[in-house]
């Protein structure tokens, strides 16, 4: 049952223009939503200022492109930094388990020297 649900979730990914799987691609949904908001804001503001409908649509679309690209790059850079940190942490945990109690353990402090007997 859980497998079927997972399969349904996998096949239900929504593809914008048949190209971009917005649900399963990290940052895609946020970028498109920010783009839509930016497009609306830019187009509306231009129309309010100039009352030119067609040109406002053009400005709105340009706003969509720029906002989507900007949001996408920002989110993907943060995502990449997180993935690097995740790998460092994973390697650290693995090395700690592997090297614990051996001479290669970086947390191994040298024991106190035992006092020598009277000469």
């Amino acid at each position: 049952m859980a497998g079927e649900e997972q399969e349904n979730n996998n096949t239900k990914g929504f593809r914008l223009l048949g190209i971009l799987d917005v649900q399963n691609t990290p940052c895609a949904r946020d970028a498109i939503l920010h783009g839509a908001g930016g497009s609306l804001a830019a187009g509306l503001l231009h129309f309010l200022a100039t009352s030119r409908v067609k040109r406002s649509f053009d400005v709105g679309f340009a706003g969509f492109m720029l906002t989507t690209l900007g949001s996408w790059f920002y989110c993907r850079m943060n995502n990449a930094k997180l993935r690097v940190q995740q790998r460092i942490i994973q390697t650290g945990i693995k090395n700690k388990i592997v090297y614990e109690g051996t001479v290669l353990d970086p947390t191994n402090k040298p024991g106190a020297e035992t006092p020598s007997g009277p000469s």
Binding site: E7, T11, R83
Partner: protein, 231 residues
Amino acid sequence: MAHPSQLGFQDAASPLMEELLHFHDHALMIVFLISAFVLYIIVAMITSKLTDKLILDSQEIEVIWTVLPAMGSSQIAILSLRILYLMDEINDPHLTIKAMGHQWYWSYEYTDYQDLGFDSYMVPTQDLTPGQFRLLEADHRMVIPVESPIRVLISAEDVLHSWAVPSLGVKVDAIPGRLNQTTFIVNRPGILYGQCSEICGANHSFMPIVIEAVPLPHFENWTSLMMAEYT
């Protein structure tokens, strides 16, 4: 493995495939934006009432539609070159396995373990047990330890084959008389499926590759059992 009607990549099982997916998502977003832009231009031109029969050239738009695609292409190229060279890095493998392509099965040799070797034939459809996958299961799996760099040397005994495992981002041609090398690390335990990817005769579609990634103690137990059976 892939699920029915799947269009995208399988989930990554190696760091390299993760990087490939990351790059693919980025390239696809750029493709989507370009497609949306072209669609918008088409609609705008069709719905425009403006005509001018005397336009000969326009330097400004020529510059724009040269510079912008160049910037986009160079950005994609730089990212792709990074991952291209990352794919060729060899990072001190812990284990070497030879995969030999035959008509129509694969054979695996673990020469690090006293010449352990075995053949891997597809399980015929009529012999599948419930839960097994048609045309993907093999009678002997290539077992490897997780989180260890593995080197696979690939060749063929008769005709061209190709050793491919999509979830690892690996596809290497098996060429008779030539030894090709690939290295990978499997991130997580599991069973990874692939199929021969070079036309090699009547049963080209029926020689799958099955990799079973297990923790190291389980791998050591498996090699002991296999050496007792096959050497």
